[in-house]
Symmetry: C2
Subunit: 191 residues, 2 copies
């Protein structure tokens, strides 16, 4: 397999983190790992946590694959700045072009606890539901405050993901509040 087709040859080794990095670098023109860390923290990181160590490890790896170009300060903080290459842009485009049918995961500790609520003491569910509702309400509020951002810092695609985040949190709040209400009326063991 020749190296002149980065799209094909590298695709197998690219993970979600890879595309996250490629996408962020492409969007911003150039970025240091630290920049990536910040971008992630205020966007996708809300849904999907990426340990920052990964955001430092991934760019050099992508550079080796020829998808990014690296340039490093010699002195001071020795920042590493990355830019996307043509091959990188191609790999990103190819990924964006293939529609994804995978469903992802919903790793919610509260949900796991609820699944075994029947084994706990009577009051436990109420407390859980109440805590969860509050936590999700808080996050919903945060998300809503983001909607005020201007289009410059928030491309439409990002705004769309924010909308999903809002819809998700709203659903969670409704779910836990409904559960709480049913607990109050003794409905929860029936149905």
């Amino acid at each position: 397999m020749a190296e002149d087709d980065a799209t094909t040859s590298a695709a197998g080794q690219l993970t979600p983190v890879s595309y996250l990095v490629l996408g962020l670098v492409a969007r911003h023109g150039a970025a240091t790992p630290y920049d990536l860390k910040s971008f992630v923290a205020q966007s996708i990181g809300n849904f999907w946590s990426f340990p920052h160590a990964q955001l430092y490890k991934e760019p050099p790896r992508l550079a080796e694959l020829g998808l990014l170009a690296e340039e490093r300060e010699e002195h001071g903080r020795r920042r590493r700045t990355f830019r996307i290459t043509e091959a990188g842009r191609a790999a990103l485009s190819a990924w964006l072009a293939e529609p994804d049918t995978s469903l992802g995961e919903l790793r919610a500790p509260g949900l796991l606890k609820l699944a075994f609520a029947e084994l706990g003491k009577p009051g436990d569910v109420e407390a859980l539901a109440s805590a969860q509702a509050a936590a999700h309400r808080a996050r919903l509020k945060t998300y809503r405050s983001y909607t005020a951002m201007s289009a410059d810092v928030m491309p439409w695609s990002l705004r769309r993901t924010l909308e999903l985040g809002i819809a998700y949190e709203q659903m969670q709040v409704e779910f836990w509040e409904r559960l709480l209400a049913d607990c109050a009326t003794g409905q929860h063991t029936r149905r």
Copy 2:
């Protein structure tokens, strides 16, 4: 710290998987790792994937901590059967009793792709939205078929988590269908 308080001493080393195993064993009285694997596959595994290797590794670990009791066939398939101990029941109760405020994660590859959609070709988003909507509709249908199950195999707590699953998938379907509709009318780049 004395060993006579398993609740306190073991709590630090217990992960979500631990409680999943404790809970399943408690619910069913006794279980082999293989049973756990099956239980997980048809319930929580839909939201949160646990590699089966973990469900084989965790029970012996919990047995060492005194939270499970192990008993093994000497011949044939050499099944390992686990039962919950008093200490295990206590640890589980303690976990259920503390309300959880963590929000969990939403690891959805489609969402990641959407976040960078602005960098792709015009038709890409439609294809993605269409594929995602279809996938979530399919899962929604599966979940709905589960609601027919009797209360024997489906305790109320599990039924509740199923309800959340349904609400979640419904929200996803609506989100992607709305996006698709907006694409058709050229709305997506504005807003």
